[in-house]
């Protein structure tokens, strides 16, 4: 089965993020970049499906600058078969990403797209849903378990009130939640092999898509620093503070 796994390059979650003084974005010097952790879970799941089925083709796709191929190589080192880099100098918003992916799906004809439920940089949580809509495919979001048999897919998804089981026919789009799996790390021989795996580059403007941004970032601010707590001497004082200061009771 051919599985398409879109991956996004994001700052390492352990990195301290600094907002630029002019509020136009974050400082990107000295940032360590990684595959979006939810996308990494998507890749791990695709690799497991391939391993269970004994055959298949796991194709990575990413949309960004030349340097993004570093994350694609990491994905290839984990075990993906080949990768596509859609080169875009300017950042693209979620709708544009979904449109580009829909075009890649039309060309590659995968039976399944697995993608992280959101990227940990902007936390939009939109691409998978928009993509499914553009393709007219079934979608299962926040997957915590995926089973595939005879062209049918059963997904247990993490909904607000508990777990929901959905079943549908392929092709489909699945977005991954945190508890789906624990991604493997690349082995050293895998890293050596990744060097020889195909990585195709496509210039975004050759796709003939309308990608004008629907979303504009007007300003970016660091969250307010948390104030230190203070010790109160009695329950009365606490109730008083909750009432007059916090205004919650």
């Amino acid at each position: 089965m051919k599985i398409l796994v879109p991956i996004k390059r994001v700052p390492d979650p352990a990195t301290t993020i600094r907002v630029l003084p002019d509020g136009s974005g974050i400082a990107t010097d000295n940032i360590k970049w990684v595959i979006n952790p939810f996308d990494e879970i998507a890749l791990e799941e695709a690799l497991r499906i391939k391993e269970r089925q004994g055959a298949g083709d796991v194709v990575l796709v990413s949309i960004g600058q030349q340097s993004w191929q570093e994350q694609l190589r990491t994905g290839l080192a984990m075990g993906a078969d080949r990768a596509i880099l859609v080169k875009a100098e300017q950042p693209v918003d979620t709708f544009a990403v979904a449109r580009i992916l829909a075009k890649i799906v039309a060309d590659e004809k995968p039976e399944l797209v697995i993608i992280g439920k959101q990227a940990i940089d902007d936390d939009s949580n939109q691409v998978g849903q928009i993509l499914a809509e553009l393709l007219g495919w079934p979608q299962a979001t926040f997957a915590s378990k995926i089973e595939i048999a005879d062209g049918r897919c059963t997904v247990i998804r993490e909904a607000d009130g508990g777990l929901e089981t959905v079943a549908f026919t392929l092709p489909a789009v699945i977005t991954t939640d945190l508890r789906l799996n624990e991604p493997r790390y690349a082995s050293l021989p895998g890293i050596m092999k990744a060097r020889k795996k195909p990585l195709k580059e496509i210039a975004v403007d050759t796709l003939g898509l309308d990608l004008h941004p629907r979303v504009k970032i007007k300003a970016m601010k660091a969250p307010q620093k948390r104030q230190a707590g203070r010790k109160l001497s009695s329950v009365q004082e606490l109730v008083q503070a909750l009432h007059t200061e916090a205004k919650v009771i």
Partner: protein, 389 residues
């Protein structure tokens, strides 16, 4: 235990690393954080080596990672160094295990073994199915291996070995030992498999250092070996010493990992602990210590990187490795002691990794050529005068 394993890259050395080298480092770091770190304090407390990690280390391709062919990953020496650095950021014992398997046991067979021996042992050692140790040091001959008393004599088509080796990392858990012995022509090496009659290993207990690593004594009592177990291409002390050069190279990198963990721990502690009117990090005395640590780590990183380039180019001299081992381990030990001091009473408990690293580094400073022996090697190199005897 809190995880203090993270980057420290003040001089942006990452810009010099290839994406493969970075991927290698990140993969090993992840392995360490996920698999090794959670149980390392327990192993240190119990004086046990985490043998359960061996299959995953093998799957990652850590053993003999910089050797070519025979099932080895064939990475370059910078990548190999980064592997050692990440392992030792967890524990010197974990790095020692990988060093002994790769740079000593596998390298001895790789450099001095016959084609048949290489094919027989190396792929299984890369898979972690066969573990190796390296018997050079003896109870009475540490810095002076040339004075070894272990002897091998010819008996028909066989060799017969007698002697004792001491301070042997992995000794009792190893499936095979590379044993160096005196023969009439000088010194040569043998592959002694576990279970060979007359060969036994007993662990050394009571260590205050390297407790998550096995250290043993090997006894050879009329051990009979065929020529198939003789490293026939190993002639003279040069053969084991060339293995030590490989191991020292990994140690120079590894020490940076241990130092980095101690620094990160001390930094975080200083930023969070308040005494008198402010956080520790706000005191000049503390800042001075942190800056000294940062400077020494950055210098050690630069030495490692350049040394790796020389090793990859094939122009690295053993004396250059001595300088790196001497400087980096000594700096790491000083940093660990300083970090221990900065943590106050918290510096003596295993809630923080600092005292474990500090104790381990005492061993690292000593083994594979002590600080003083490296000094004599370098002294001889620059003056032309040997001060060994």
């Amino acid at each position: 235990m809190t995880d203090f394993i993270r980057d420290l890259d003040f001089y942006q050395l990452d810009d010099w690393l290839s994406s493969e080298e970075k991927m290698t480092r990140d993969a090993v770091r992840r392995f360490v954080q996920r698999e090794a770190l959670p149980s390392i304090e327990r192993h240190f407390a119990n004086e046990t080596f985490p043998l359960e990690l061996v299959p995953e280390m093998a799957r990652l391709g850590i053993f003999g990672a910089n050797l070519k062919g025979y099932g080895c990953a064939g990475m370059n020496n910078i990548a190999y160094g980064l592997i050692m650095q990440e392992l030792e950021a967890c524990d010197s014992g974990l790095r020692s295990f990988a060093s002994v398997q790769s740079a000593l046991a596998m390298y001895a067979i790789y450099s001095s073994g016959t084609e048949e021996q290489k094919k027989r042992y190396l792929p299984e050692m890369a898979k972690g199915k066969l573990l190796g140790c390296f018997g050079l040091t003896e109870p009475d001959h540490g810095s002076d291996p040339g004075g070894m008393e272990t002897r091998a004599r010819k008996d028909g088509s066989h060799w017969v070995l007698n002697g004792t080796k001491r301070w042997i990392t992995n000794g009792s858990i190893a499936d095979l030992a590379i044993v160096w012995a005196r023969v009439d022509e000088g010194i040569t090496g043998f592959i002694v498999e576990k279970g060979t009659p007359g060969f036994s290993a007993a662990d050394i207990h009571g260590k205050f250092s390297m407790r998550a690593s096995i250290t043993s004594e090997l006894v050879l009592d009329e051990v009979r070996l065929g020529e198939s177990h003789h490293l026939a291409n190993a002639r003279g002390l040069r053969a084991p010493l060339s293995c030590l050069t490989q191991a020292r190279y990994g140690i120079a990198w590894g020490a940076v990992g241990a130092a980095r963990t101690c620094f990160q721990c001390a930094l975080e502690y200083a930023k969070s602990r308040k005494q008198f009117s402010r956080r520790l990090a706000g005191y000049q005395l503390v800042q001075r210590k942190l800056v000294d640590m940062l400077t020494e780590i950055t210098k050690a990183q630069l030495i490692c990187f350049r040394l790796g380039q020389l090793k990859d180019a094939g122009t690295m001299r053993p004396e250059q490795v001595s300088l790196a081992k001497r400087n980096n381990v000594n700096a790491a030990l000083e940093i660990a002691r300083m970090a221990r001091d900065m943590l106050g009473a918290n510096g003596i408990v295993n809630e923080y990794p600092v005292i474990r690293h500090m104790l381990n580094l005492e061993t690292v400073n000593t083994y594979e050529g002590t600080y003083d022996v490296q000094t004599l090697i370098l002294g001889r190199d620059i003056t032309g005068e040997s001060a060994f005897d």
